[in-house]
Symmetry: C2
Subunit: 366 residues, 2 copies
């Protein structure tokens, strides 16, 4: 079995990657310190994988909370549903929450664990590519607010991350592509050889070649774990690089209404926009811009923002992002493939003009 570690001193935890891990009760039990578990899942995932998990954990006291499926349910109200169920089933401070699902389930379950009785244990069992390569690792938990993505949350590290690659067999194509957006991100921000590998292997990934997928999960988790270990709470700027494409993407998600585009789709498009702006600023070569756009397109991700959000509104939404609010807009931009920077040092006019070009239906932007 593949095991990586997120090195965070006394909060260090393992990431297990292997086919069939959902059946491995012994592995999961190692990370449950109390006798009780609350599995949180959603209506799509629970029917498929909850019974397997329940039987793997037989003998422990397990309750389950099944949420509706979708980003639009990542709210304080849904959080309250989880807390109510925990209280009704009398879970105390020694309980362990287990997130079985994609990024939405992981984020909200982690946040519930962060604040239930001022903090309890939790385990991530991500079942989408996006959650496996990105959101389940690193301890960022949150819910959305009507006025902005992930505005309410906490840093709360899981006890372990258990990635059963078999769960990808039932993942819809659209969600597979959404996950690839975050995979491509690691190549763009700091791992050019991985970007090269992705250019070679993107079709194998789309065809669900499990060997290729396992490699891409491992490599992505290695990248993520390294960044998180260096800057757990996004204080030095290193972790902020992981937000490439996200300020653009969050504007799309908030502007269209959560759940209209998948998070990964918005990030894919956001990365194209970040690359385009970097090119306009003279920071990114035409060749690297071309390679970026091409790979994202080959992953079946959108490369143009939705026409519903016109330029000025887009800017407004970007300015409301966590990284910008109240101050100058800071963005993650590209100097080259594998070389990203966090910066507020760019002409806002270039951004405005690019967004205007999209409005006019131009906006290949070169």
């Amino acid at each position: 079995m593949e095991t990586l570690a997120v090195q965070l001193g006394e909060r260090t935890y393992p990431i297990y990657i292997e086919s069939g891990l959902l059946h491995d009760g012994a592995l999961l039990r190692q990370h449950v310190s109390g006798g009780k578990i609350m599995v949180v899942s959603n209506e799509t995932i629970a029917p498929r994988y909850l019974p397997v998990l329940m039987s793997a954990l037989e003998g422990l006291r397990i309750d389950a909370t099944v949420l509706p499926d979708g980003e639009q349910y990542k709210t304080l109200d849904t959080l309250n549903i989880i807390c109510t169920n925990l209280l009704e089933k009398r879970h105390d401070r020694t309980t362990t929450l287990l997130a079985l699902g994609g990024g939405v389930v992981g984020d909200i379950t982690g946040f519930a664990a962060a604040i239930y009785q001022r903090g309890v244990d939790f385990i991530q069992v991500p079942t989408t590519l996006l959650a496996q390569v990105d959101s389940s690792v690193g301890g960022k938990t949150a819910v959305n607010h009507a006025l902005g993505k992930n505005m309410i949350g906490a840093f709360h590290q899981p006890r372990c991350v258990v990635i059963d690659t078999d769960t990808l067999s039932t993942l819809p194509d659209r969600e597979l592509s959404a996950g690839l957006a975050e995979v491509i991100k690691y190549g763009l921000i700091g791992d050019a050889p991985f970007f090269d590998w992705l250019e070679e292997n993107i079709e194998r990934l789309l065809q669900r070649d499990m060997q290729a997928i396992a490699y891409c999960i491992r490599r992505s988790c290695q990248n993520k774990a390294k960044v998180v270990a260096a800057d757990e709470r996004e204080q030095t700027g290193k972790r902020a690089l992981l937000n490439l494409g996200h300020t653009f993407g969050h504007a799309i998600e908030t502007g269209l209404g959560y759940g209209t585009w998948l998070h990964g789709e918005a990030v894919g498009c956001g990365m194209v926009m970040a690359a385009m702006l970097s090119h306009r600023l003279g920071w990114l070569s035409a060749g690297d811009l071309e390679r970026t756009c091409a790979l994202i397109e080959r992953a079946h991700l959108p490369t143009r923002p939705p026409t519903e959000i016109e330029g000025e509104r887009f800017l407004e939404l970007m300015a409301a992002d966590k990284k910008a609010l109240g101050g100058r807009l800071r963005l993650v931009l590209l100097r080259g493939i594998g070389e990203a920077v966090v910066t507020a040092d760019f002409q806002l006019e270039a951004l405005r003009s690019m967004l205007g070009d999209y409005d006019r239906g131009a906006g290949s932007g070169q």
Copy 2:
């Protein structure tokens, strides 16, 4: 000026105690690192003290959120009001929240600071005796859930606690008494000489002799700071001693509906009940029980639980408390004045029989 410190390594912070501190803009400014402040207060306190604070902080960008007054508003919904206002006014991660009010305002503002954008700074400016001697110090933040007090929350330490003793001049008598419950608690759990002093000086406190009040705030904060420094996250059991009377008290608050009894009133009555049970178990002498009941009564606090909650329901509510949920009921009990223990090692029958005696209108319990 009196300055104490809560020793928590890099999270160490000062407690300032003095008359007139609300006017001391320079002192407050020292603890504001960004340029923006969101004051959170309530409809009772804001008209009295918000203008003073605003003018002391002139030059900084200050917004305010004014909440309805009362424990029944310490909810996730009210939390969302604070977050919405922060977003609408474009407060970013460098903002400082400032809690101006009693325990409810402090708890909810601290929790908002813990989770807004995954954590921002906050300052406690407590204006009730209860908040000054207890809830503003130590970083416990929370909101209530319909099924239990303080069930959703976080540990999040303030940057400083600023206690302007002048604010007590407008405090209703009932709230002064409620604050004295937590003051008496420090004597009971570990500071017998302070208990003696309180027996001598309780009338001076009720008459608002400011010298006596300042002393009792300082002594209480010293006690609280020492416990918090030794056990910040309630892991060794030492901090749990601060919950004397609270499991009984929370049962009363949840059972009657939040806001019916003040928190301090419920704790006062809860301490009498804890003392009574300790005596029934043969742990506390009749003399010490008598002294405990007498002092709480002299502070104008209730010493009998409300008749509306009959014994079995009371037990059920106690079992739902954070310290008990899902396992054996643990209580803080007394071995003597100044000597408390956290224990699950007592006969539940003794508790049940005591609660039954209250039902029958007996329940002096001796």
